[in-house]
């Protein structure tokens, strides 16, 4: 036992050293800095709950929270439903299905900033190809990214485009795990394809759906790269999300204390949402 302890220490030491310095330490300190009044030029001073009081009265915080939640609501349904339908389609024995699978994953492996550049070009108000085709079919051009009514939705479309292939892989893995016997049995029982899908496929994919929802929650609450490149939070504050606001507060205005408070708020929101998610999914079991 004791000897194993010494060996274990040797195996663990390098990782725990780096982990403590660069992950665990800062995480614990994050809690602490959130309670400080700290600007990069001034000295830090303990501010108690001042930062949290400020947070609850900060209209920008509510704006960024609202935008982040709206964004989550926009991306979640399509990222579950479309990915599932895509996986079901590409799970059939079809020619070229591997090619389509490959193609649908490509957006996921691209750098988000690159995806942003590409879509900003498609979305361009005057010269973008999307507005060109809209005009051709007789629809007025849309100010995709510069109208505060559409900007967040336009970014959400891009996020769905990027992540659909990733979720499809997860669903495909789930579909391939379902035993063929179950389908045969249900065909013998006279169920049609739709009934089989609803009664067998969907319930068996539930753990994967749950995981996809959790991952989408986590990624959507932390959305930053795409927004930073595509709209920089604008127009006005129409696409200002929580992390974008944190970045501006802590690293552009150098209000480190309050920036950290926002960081704590993000974690709390994340944990609450993940908890709600897992409760909901357990409840209907």
């Amino acid at each position: 036992m004791n000897k194993q302890g010494k060996i274990a220490a040797l195996f663990l030491l390098p990782y725990l050293l780096i982990f403590t310095i660069f992950r665990f330490g800062p995480s614990m300190a994050g809690l602490f800095v959130g309670f400080m009044e700290w600007n990069i030029v001034g000295d830090a001073a303990f501010a108690g709950l001042d930062n949290f009081e400020k947070l609850f009265r900060d209209p920008m915080f509510y704006t960024s929270l609202k935008n982040t939640m709206l964004f989550l609501l926009m991306v979640l349904p399509p990222l579950v439903v479309f990915s599932l339908l895509l996986a079901v389609l590409l799970n059939q024995k079809l020619r070229y299905r591997n090619a389509v699978r490959t193609v649908s994953i490509i957006p996921y492996v691209l750098i988000p900033a690159v995806v942003g550049i590409i879509w900003n070009w498609l979305y361009d108000n005057n010269f973008g190809i999307l507005n060109y085709y809209l005009k051709m079919i007789g629809i007025a051009p849309i100010e995709w990214l510069t109208n505060d009514k559409y900007a967040l939705f336009s970014v959400a479309i891009v996020t769905v485009w990027s992540y659909m292939g990733y979720n499809m892989i997860l669903y495909l893995a789930g579909l391939q795990d379902i035993s063929k016997d179950l389908y045969e049995a249900s065909t013998i029982d006279g169920a049609n394809k739709f009934q089989t899908f609803m009664k067998i496929t969907l319930p068996l994919l539930k753990p994967i759906t749950s995981m996809i929802i959790t991952l989408t929650l986590i990624n959507a609450i932390q959305i930053f790269d795409q927004i930073f490149v595509m709209t920089n939070g604008g127009p006005g504050t129409a696409t200002l999300t929580l992390v974008q606001y944190l970045y501006g507060t802590a690293f552009q205005n150098y209000n480190l204390g309050y920036g950290s408070t926002l960081g704590i708020a993000i974690v709390v929101i994340l944990i609450v949402l993940v908890q709600i998610q897992s409760r909901l999914f357990k409840l209907d079991n």
């Binding site: 194993q4 663990l12 660069f22 995480s27 957006p107 900033a113 990733y166 920089n232 480190l256």
Partner: protein, 275 residues
């Protein structure tokens, strides 16, 4: 071919177009001179084919340096993660020691805390250590990866005890068991972690954006983000060079993905955890 089959293939073609069209259109636009990029109506085949946007990017920006920086940071981070976390996961998965449960719980609980929550203290710490504006700041932070410990520990746990006991009877010590039995048996988990770390570190954005100030030290993600001030910024920018930069940045991602596709897909399917 009946109607149903045809409609399925039409649907597949439509899906393919949705995913590929944005890339193709950017590629086509990037080889046009600026005044023709914004010509109306859009032209599918460039009138004057030119690489001038590409040479402008290479001339005005340290583009190849950014790319090299990204390669270096990604490879170094991935290797560091693999070394640190396989060792740690062996201890968590195969050895008995006091406080194991507590330490493991502490480590894994960090999965719940995203970087935004500790990025301010991390920034202060790294600047205090004099590591701002260095590759080390990014690689060391990447080294403290939790996902990898989690995946590898559960895999190591699943390897049967008998193999280890047989090796011990043959006189194998712990490091021998680790390197000659555990690692070779864990190829699926290790390759999953490798792919995950590649994607995570290659696409890493927020932390390098904050930690690296020097233009020539930036990774590609941060460097290329300057090409786009956001649609609502007032900065003048040119589509030609932005798109040329984007197309060049796509190349390594696509090459790596296509050549390792099987591992990519397996890696994602095995874990469903990103970052």
């Amino acid at each position: 071919m009946n109607v149903k089959k045809i409609s399925v293939y039409v649907l597949m073609a439509f899906i393919g177009i949705i995913f590929l069209f944005p890339l193709f259109w950017s590629l086509i636009s990037s080889v046009k001179p600026e005044n023709q990029i914004i010509s109306y109506p859009p032209r599918w085949i460039p009138e004057n084919f030119t690489f001038s946007n590409y040479s402008l990017v290479l001339k005005n920006h340290p583009f190849l340096t950014w790319m090299w920086n990204s390669v270096f940071i990604t490879v170094a981070s991935t290797i560091l993660v693999l070394i640190l976390t396989t060792l740690a996961a062996y201890a968590f998965g195969r050895l008995e020691f006091r406080g194991k449960k507590l330490i493991f719980t502490l480590v894994v609980s960090m999965l719940l805390i995203p970087i935004q929550a500790y990025i301010v203290p991390l920034f202060l710490l790294v600047s205090e250590l004099g590591l701002l504006n260095t590759f080390a700041s990014i690689i060391l932070v990447a080294g403290a990866n939790v996902t990898s410990v989690f995946i590898l520990t559960s895999f190591f746990k699943s390897i049967p005890k008998e193999l280890e006991e047989a090796a011990r009877i043959d006189g194998c010590k712990d490091f021998g068991i680790f390197s000659r039995i555990m690692l070779p048996l864990s190829k699926p988990a290790v390759s999953t972690v490798t792919i995950l770390m590649f994607i995570t570190n290659w696409n890493n954005f927020l932390w390098p954006l904050i930690a690296i100030r020097d233009n020539s030290l930036k990774p590609l993600t941060v460097g290329i983000a300057q090409f786009m001030g956001g649609a609502n910024s007032t900065a003048q920018f040119q589509y030609g060079t932005s798109l040329a930069g984007a197309c060049m940045a796509i190349i390594p991602s696509i090459i790596v993905f296509l050549s390792l596709q099987r591992y990519f897909v397996e890696g994602i399917a095995n874990t469903g955890i990103k970052g």
